[in-house]
Symmetry: C2
Subunit: 164 residues, 2 copies
């Protein structure tokens, strides 16, 4: 297993497949993931997106996309974190998250925000964030659709996070 | 005074001047407004941005930028609303806001979100939204910077808003 920061051309389709596989994401959300990866591939960090790709024997098995929120001092957004279902029980998500946080912290991030859904099928996602030091900072009822709230989670990271 | 939906090439610099004039926005925020206008000019509605420009004797005196939030059923974001300081005491902002809401509602919007700051110099902006039917839905402390919270306001609009 290795982590890589720079996207390659063949990552875009691998990311599409991975995100589609996880079931919870809508078709529109899969397209957003593909757009984010495409923008990162074409424009690098000028896209505003940073990536971390997890590879196992040359195969993409997880990725994160994160970046600074424009016009904020030190707030970053974790746009995506997805791991192969087979890797979800082996702590890959937690390692990918910690590595992404450390990378963001090294670049000046002090607050990481992540949006998720209040829907029942997102319970594992919410438990994942809560287990890794995120707390729910806000709830926007009916944001995604009637009965489907947006939850905003936050983790404050100190300078020490860069040294883990 | 007239309102126009389609951006023209010379609007971009007029928007830069207008936004810079209002003082509350940082240089980074002025650049974001220019980027939004440039994207709208180049790609039209495919940019995800809708605009309403207020003109007085051929001069741009206000504008809004708004659009559907990807992967939501009927939630829109009001990205920008700015009017010439001289117009602020004559209800231009309220008329521009109402016209933008009606346009969004006609396109399927049922919830309009707007982000603003908790800073003292944003008190007039907060009072403006509250006066026009927005309520504070969430507060993200220290989001923009230490002591500078992001406030998320929401107005729910019914089908009737399209008929105003």
């Amino acid at each position: 297993m290795s982590f890589r920061e720079r996207l390659r051309a063949d990552d875009v389709e691998a990311i599409r497949t991975l995100v589609a596989q996880t079931k919870v994401f809508s078709r529109a959300e899969v397209e957003i993931a593909v757009e984010v990866a495409t923008a990162g591939l074409q424009s690098g960090e000028a896209s505003g997106y940073h990536f971390l790709v997890a590879e196992d024997a040359g195969r993409l098995v997880g990725f994160t996309a994160f970046g600074p929120i424009p016009a904020t001092a030190a707030s970053w957004d974790l746009y995506w974190i997805t791991v192969d279902p087979a890797g979800q029980r082996h702590g890959l998500g937690g390692r990918l998250l910690a590595a992404s946080e450390a990378r963001a912290a090294a670049l000046g991030c002090r607050r990481i925000y992540v949006d998720t859904s209040g829907r029942v099928d997102y319970a594992p996602a919410r438990a994942f964030y809560e287990r890794h030091g995120y707390r729910r900072e806000a709830t926007l009822a009916d944001f995604y659709a009637p009965g489907d709230a947006k939850l905003i989670y936050l983790r404050e990271i100190g300078a020490s996070a860069a040294n883990r």
